[in-house]
């Protein structure tokens, strides 16, 4: 019995998350930059902020759950992403979780995001992208 079914499941979750986050991030960054003179649709922007806020909340919950600080359950965040964050942020986890909480508040408001907020989002997107590509490679090796 091959593990393709399990990998397909992992891949679907990771790729949907990666695509949602990158599309939303492009919208948010365009709004920050006003690139190419484009007007970003206000509804699109609101939706982008809201979906990114949900992802940030899921990341925060997943990290808290792994640290034994929250209620464990089925998470949208791939476990490998959570593990990477725990390794990378070891020793500064309370600050990281506080940054995530602040980021979520910023996203739920309407003011522009800070460079630090964008950096944090890019870091999360990078980890999710890397995990998606990794699962895809494993899937294709089957």
């Amino acid at each position: 019995m091959s593990e393709t079914g399990a990998l397909a499941h992992e891949y679907r979750l990771a790729s949907e998350l990666s695509e949602t986050l990158n599309r939303a991030l492009i919208g948010l960054k365009k709004a920050q930059l006003h690139t190419a003179g484009e007007d970003i649709d206000a509804d699109d922007l609101r939706r982008a902020r809201s979906s990114v806020a949900e992802i940030v909340e899921s990341v925060s919950n997943a990290v808290r759950s792994h640290e034994g600080r929250g209620f464990p359950g089925i998470s949208d965040i791939p476990p490998a992403v959570t593990s990477h964050i725990l390794k990378r942020r070891r020793g500064q986890l309370p600050y990281y979780l506080k940054d995530l909480d602040e980021l979520r508040v910023h996203l739920k408001g309407s003011e522009l995001l800070s460079d630090g907020d964008i950096r944090l989002l890019d870091e999360i997107a990078g980890l999710i992208d890397a995990e998606t590509a990794q699962v895809f490679r494993r899937l294709m090796r089957k």
């Binding site: 091959s2 393709t4 079914g5 399990a6 499941h9 599309r23 492009i26 359950g73 476990p79």
Partner: protein, 367 residues
Amino acid sequence: MEDLLAGLLRDLERRCVTLEGLLAALPPDPDTAAHALESYEVLERARRDAGRLALEPDLAEPSLSGNYLRLFERLAERVRLIEWMVIPFLARYDDADRFLTAVTRRLIDESRLPVRPPLVGGFSTQYYWTFPPYSVIAVPAGEAESILGLADLCHELGHMVLADHEVELVGTFPTALARYVQSGQAQMVADQRPPRYVDDFVSHFARWEDDWLLEFVSDMVAAFLAGPAFGFQHVRLCAGLGRSPYSPGLGEWAEHPADCARLEAIVAVIEIMGDVLGASRVRQLWADYMGINGEAEPADYKLCYPASLLQELAREIVGGCQALGVRTYRDAASGDVIAHVLRAWDEFLRDASGYPRYEEEVIARLK
């Protein structure tokens, strides 16, 4: 970067056109029509997305190009999945595939499984596998002429049910799993176990969360559907693969949990359903196999695969399958596919040398 990305996106667009051409040239077939149409739609969406992205005026904006590259990667993966995971089924759909597909779809109807009717192809190089997002199952070339292995179809169908009904099936098990890991870890620290041992324990259960839970769940759904037939087939498969039945243990890595634990998971479901005789026959066949295999149980095995966790998961799966309205093998009618598979196993275990003739007759009847 703009030129490179735009070029890659145009190349992907062209790939989509090529694959769409392949699909359009396939002979019409009611079995494959839905999969062909879905594949075409996925490719067409990817083609349009790639075309739109290639025209983005800010493709080269440094703060955005990384995000655009990731979007390209996801699009390219989507196209490759259709090309590698679906088109091979459609391009070679032959009589053996038609039989396997018909048997599987019959099994789904009879068991009232909430999954899309899959296409089944007899060309796998990786034993049985499924790709639930596109509802395809690949099996080895000889499976169209065999009944015993068909129980493994139920494992792949388990993956398909799980893909859409994870919460209903798994229930609160993740909480129990997390509790076990936390208390185990605390106990090890209190017992002053070496830090490496504690790390191995935590890594082992990270695998449970990542992949193995899905394998256990699919095994348990298969046990719910096929009962002892799936247990017997597990023994047959293990004997053929020659893997260590207790591996992976602490500090070891594998994409699947230990075969012995999988057997216990299967038996746990059969017992919960009240089939005492069926459970004991599966246990006995496993004991016969282990008697020949001769491998001894490692000291940490029960710590890695605690019976209490497997039983808790089995209760969730049986409850989940019942809530989804799935019919168990115990309610199968005499002419159902599962009843044929169960009788085939009885016959094989009763008289292996006379079995081939029996199997030929059953396959002829199913065809």
